[in-house]
């Protein structure tokens, strides 16, 4: 028997170890949640993981969760799209043409600081409670993230790069396409990280306040009848959805990073 023969090792890769750690944390929290309420009076107020899971499966089976998710997701995705396009475009314009930037920047900084949800009643007054109005509200919220990302991205393009383009005789469109947009990519990625969860929060807030559908509506109708299981089920589903969408889109964006 040679000493070189390796003893059976239970070597675990660092990423697997991290995954196991995270899973154990989740399991511990769920276990406490599952078993602790039995000894207290709040049992019916916070529900239990098994009840929540049961409810989620029930809702998936009868199609309710899918229907409401589509309503919320369409507000989020279209809102992100329109807010993202408008914000990036105006941010680029304001960052590229300095005088424009100097004029609009303080006003937009002020508007950014406004709590947008305080305007939901006004939004309803102006645009009604249609899905279109949800998209508009989400777009308004995410607009600012994209605006400031592109604005700062464009303003931080180094002088040496700008000179390079100028001495090649580049016009404004060439400079924007070749230099400003790719140079702002990192800023846009950072904006996306912030904008996706905020888009969900915006969509849910407006659905809670005024809507006939969407996950926010589901949260509200459940909590209105003191249905803790339903409320937690809707919120848990929402978190899963928002995290998945966020992670996927960031991954997609990052994979495109240096390809051009």
């Amino acid at each position: 028997m040679s000493a070189i023969v390796a003893s059976p090792s239970f070597h675990v890769s660092p990423s697997l170890r991290l995954g196991i750690g995270r899973f154990l944390l989740l399991a511990a929290v769920l276990a406490v949640w599952q078993f602790a309420p039995a000894y207290t009076l709040i049992d019916s107020l916070i529900s239990r993981p098994t009840l929540v899971a049961e409810r989620i499966f029930q809702w998936i089976a009868n199609g309710l969760l899918i229907r409401e998710s589509i309503a919320t997701l369409s507000s989020v995705i279209f809102g992100l799209f329109f807010g993202g396009v408008a914000g990036s475009f105006l941010g680029l314009v304001a960052g590229f043409w300095r005088p424009v930037g100097a004029i609009v920047e303080p006003w937009l900084t002020g508007l950014f600081a406004l709590p947008k949800s305080a305007f939901i009643p006004l939004f309803i007054l102006w645009f009604g409670i249609s899905g279109r109005q949800h998209v508009l509200f989400v777009a308004t919220v995410v607009f600012f993230f994209f605006f400031f990302a592109m604005f700062n991205g464009a303003r931080n393009v180094p002088a040496s790069w700008r000179n390079l383009l100028a001495l090649s005789g580049a016009n404004a469109f060439q400079s924007i396409r070749i230099l400003y947009i790719p140079a702002s990519f990192g800023w846009l990625l950072a904006a996306m990280r912030l904008a996706i969860p905020h888009a969900f929060v915006a969509a849910i807030s407006i659905e809670v306040i005024a809507s006939r559908d969407g996950l926010g509506h589901l949260v509200k109708t459940s909590s209105a009848v003191l249905d803790a299981t339903g409320t937690v089920a809707a919120v848990a589903w929402l978190v899963a959805l928002s995290t998945t969408l966020g992670a996927t889109s960031i991954k997609l964006a990052e994979s495109a990073r240096w390809n051009k």
Binding site: L179, P182, A183
Partner: protein, 275 residues
């Protein structure tokens, strides 16, 4: 000391009737910062003839870079005029190649995509710009690295990629602002030799800003010495280029030139310190 700016027609100006490639005519420029205006250069008169290799030598921060930026058309003079081929310069000078201390390679583009960039902007067809960029990369010895990203290259290689990009659109004039100062001694020497070869081969006119005496002597045909800020021309010396000057640096001729230039700079540094 020769305070008066001297007009040099340049030793390589073979056609006397022809306008200089670049001409600074009574050019002044100040920069304002926090409501205070600081003059960077004062009444500069200089002619750069076709085919000349001119070094601008002066203490750090004396305004040499301002002169190059004026020649590149990136800034406008307060007084006087910058002429290109006898015509006043309006807007960025697209006939020059400008290479600075920063290589300004775009990190998201491969080396070849960086080199094709000036051609892309000039709307040269794709096939042609690829071919020209590749030829230029081969010339600076980076052919094998065309598909690399700038972040994967060493400082010297990045500098050569930047040089290839500067030369790819055949500018007849090069503006170099301490281009090799960030390199180590060996890489710098190799780059200097390569630059001089390319310049001779392509018949370029060069304005090289440097505070390195040896670099000026090794490369230039003519050395213009500037005072401390605001920059004025102190001396304008023609030194004929000798292809073997890198080896000749130790000769007595160079030694005396070196001493003369050094004493000029030294005076300026002392004057600055006493201020």
């Amino acid at each position: 000391m020769n305070i008066q700016a001297s007009h040099s027609t340049g030793v390589f100006d073979v056609e006397p009737g022809r306008a200089p490639v670049l001409s600074f005519q009574g050019v002044s420029k100040s920069f304002s910062h926090e409501n205070r205006s600081t003059p960077a250069i004062e009444t500069i008169n200089l002619d750069i003839a076709r085919g000349e290799f001119v070094a601008f030598l002066g203490p750090s921060g004396c305004g040499k870079t301002t002169l190059l930026n004026l020649a590149a058309g990136l800034i406008k003079p307060d007084n006087g005029a910058v002429l290109r081929d006898g015509e006043p310069l309006r807007g960025p000078n697209t006939r020059v190649g400008y290479l600075t201390q920063s290589d300004a390679l775009l990190p998201w583009r491969t080396v070849i995509a960086n080199v094709t960039l000036p051609l892309e902007i000039r709307r040269i067809p794709r096939v042609e710009r690829q071919a020209r960029a590749m030829a230029m990369l081969e010339r600076v010895g980076l052919g094998a690295f065309a598909r690399h990203l700038p972040g994967q290259l060493s400082g010297g290689m990045r500098k050569r990629a930047a040089l290839a990009r500067t030369l790819v659109y055949d500018p007849k004039t090069l503006l170099l602002d301490e281009p090799f100062s960030a390199l180590d001694a060996q890489a710098r020497l190799a780059m200097q030799r390569q630059l001089r070869e390319l310049v001779d081969e392509l018949g370029l006119t060069v304005l090289l800003v440097t505070h390195d005496l040896n670099e000026a002597i090794a490369l230039a045909d003519r050395i213009v010495v500037f005072s401390k800020r605001p920059a004025r021309v102190l001396e304008d010396i023609d030194i004929r280029h000798d292809p073997s000057i890198l080896r000749q640096r130790r000769t007595s001729l160079d030694g005396s030139l070196h001493d003369r230039l050094w004493s000029l700079l030294e005076n300026e540094l002392e004057a600055g310190a006493l201020r």
